[in-house]
């Protein structure tokens, strides 16, 4: 059985930052990433990021991934395995996974789970037709493999992801016929919305998909207006001839491993679904299992990175590694998170976090 000090499950922005801080403190870290490449969702983002100056605002996602990877490769005590999926975390702390097609057992002293989130879908007739894809899937196809998802697209969801992916589709030379959202208002940032509108894409708010049509794959989508009680209004149907319907209705945290490990989980709508109860330092109710990133609650890459740094410090500290200015660094990260979640956009995140965070008296921001 392979022995490690700290195992990081998932090499997205959260996991990479956790590994950096833990390794800098002196701990031996192993990162297992099921994909071929490290970087998580970042490697698909061609647009410049929002967020804070400290965490690379106005840098493209793909370039943030490069910056983090350069730092990872400088640290000798980080081992990285890709094509490595963690399958289970058992009661006795043994972790098993599939690494390059082989079954492997690992005994870590501490675990940081940073598995990210998975895409939600929506119920409507024929929602399983090929051609109906998650927004992340469309991004992966076009931005990682350079393959167009189809010729013309209808985007469901006018949050940031729906708006950004629409823009990215046009960058790749694909026609976006319209964006729709059931909510009465556009959920994403206005800059993104204006950008796609300027490019001639109409945004229909207060609309949903009534039905998808097609034989072996998608050919047409009927949308319909919703009244204030979210009931479909007869006679408001519109048809779009498209071969792709892109679904961008949010993400839900990928917490299966945490359930299995026995962490206390709670359903918190504001955070995207079931999330683990945790301390401010991001330790779950199972001692030695820490969390960071979208798996703690769906937010964005900037907060995922800061959470990663925090969890990395906490895991290394729990192993007895001593760090200079530990308290100061901690406070800095907590302050960064607070400011990222401040203001109107952060309202629901703060509400959600209050329901699952066990606050300690030790650290006050």
């Amino acid at each position: 059985m392979k022995q490690v000090e700290i195992l990081v499950v998932g090499g997205g922005p959260a996991g990479l930052c956790a590994a950096i801080n833990a390794a800098q403190a002196g701990a031996k870290v192993l990162i297992l990433e099921r994909d071929e490449k490290l970087g998580g969702q970042l490697i698909k983002q061609t647009h410049m990021f929002f967020g804070s100056e400290k965490q690379h605002a106005s840098v493209r996602g793909i370039d943030i991934a490069r910056i983090l990877l350069d730092r990872i490769h400088e640290l000798e005590n980080i081992e990285i395995l890709v094509n490595a999926t963690v399958l289970a975390i058992y009661d006795d702390g043994v972790v098993n996974g599939e690494i390059d097609g082989k079954y492997v057992k690992i005994k870590p002293q501490k675990i940081i789970v940073s598995t990210g989130a998975s895409e939600k879908t929506l119920a409507f007739p024929n929602n399983d037709l090929p051609g109906i894809y998650g927004a992340g899937a469309v991004q992966t196809l076009m931005n990682v493999y350079g393959v167009k998802p189809g010729n013309s697209v209808l985007m469901l969801g006018a949050g940031n992801i729906g708006l950004i992916v629409s823009y990215q589709l046009m960058q790749a030379g694909v026609k976006v016929k319209a964006i729709l959202d059931a909510a009465p208002k556009i959920g994403g940032y206005l800059v993104h919305a204006s950008k796609v509108r300027r490019m001639g894409v109409p945004i229909y708010t207060g609309y949903t998909v009534k039905e998808a049509h097609g034989n072996d794959s998608l050919e047409r989508v009927t949308i319909v207006e919703l009244d204030e009680n979210w009931n479909q209004v007869d006679g408001t149907e519109m048809d779009f001839d498209v071969d792709v319907l892109c679904i961008s209705v949010g993400l839900s945290p990928l917490g299966e491993l945490l359930w299995q490990a026995g962490c206390e989980m709670k359903y918190v709508g504001q955070l995207g679904g079931f999330v683990p109860v945790r301390t401010e330092m991001l330790e779950t109710t199972v001692e030695g299992i820490f969390i960071a990133g979208d798996v703690c609650g769906v937010e964005e890459a900037t907060s995922a990175m800061v959470e990663g740094y925090l969890a990395g410090l906490a895991a290394a500290e729990s192993l007895g590694y001593e760090m200079e200015n530990l308290e100061e660094r901690r406070k800095d990260y907590l302050n960064q998170l607070e400011s990222l979640r401040s203001g109107h956009m952060g309202d629901s995140i703060r509400l959600g976090l209050d329901k699952v965070t066990v606050r300690s008296e030790v650290v006050k921001t």
Partner: protein, 102 residues
């Protein structure tokens, strides 16, 4: 064209051009891309069928989470083709039923 050749931000470093088969038919793709991406580029969207109603299914998440894209690859069933890298000479088949365990 399904393949993106010119992109304002990205440059695609594709692997070697290789051959593989889909239900016996010979196709071309690039080494290392996902099987599902290579099939999509070749115009194939239906990867499998639902068990009960035999409805056509394509991929959904493309990151290995949902299990919509399972196919038989080199005789192994239930392979998630959205995350399985394409290799020279692979035999990719539409899977009938639930598939066996080796």
């Amino acid at each position: 064209m399904v393949r993106i050749d010119k992109h304002p931000v990205l440059e695609f470093k594709r692997g070697k051009k290789i051959r593989f088969t889909f239900d016996g038919k010979e196709l071309e793709g690039y080494e290392g891309e996902s099987i599902a991406a290579a099939l999509h580029a070749a115009g194939i969207k239906v990867l499998t069928h639902s068990h009960e109603l035999k409805r056509p299914r394509g991929f959904y998440c493309a990151i290995g989470n949902c299990g919509q894209c399972i196919m038989e690859v080199n005789g192994v069933s239930n392979v998630r083709t959205c995350i399985e890298p394409l290799k020279e000479g692979m035999a990719v088949k539409t899977q009938e039923g639930k598939g066996g365990i080796l």
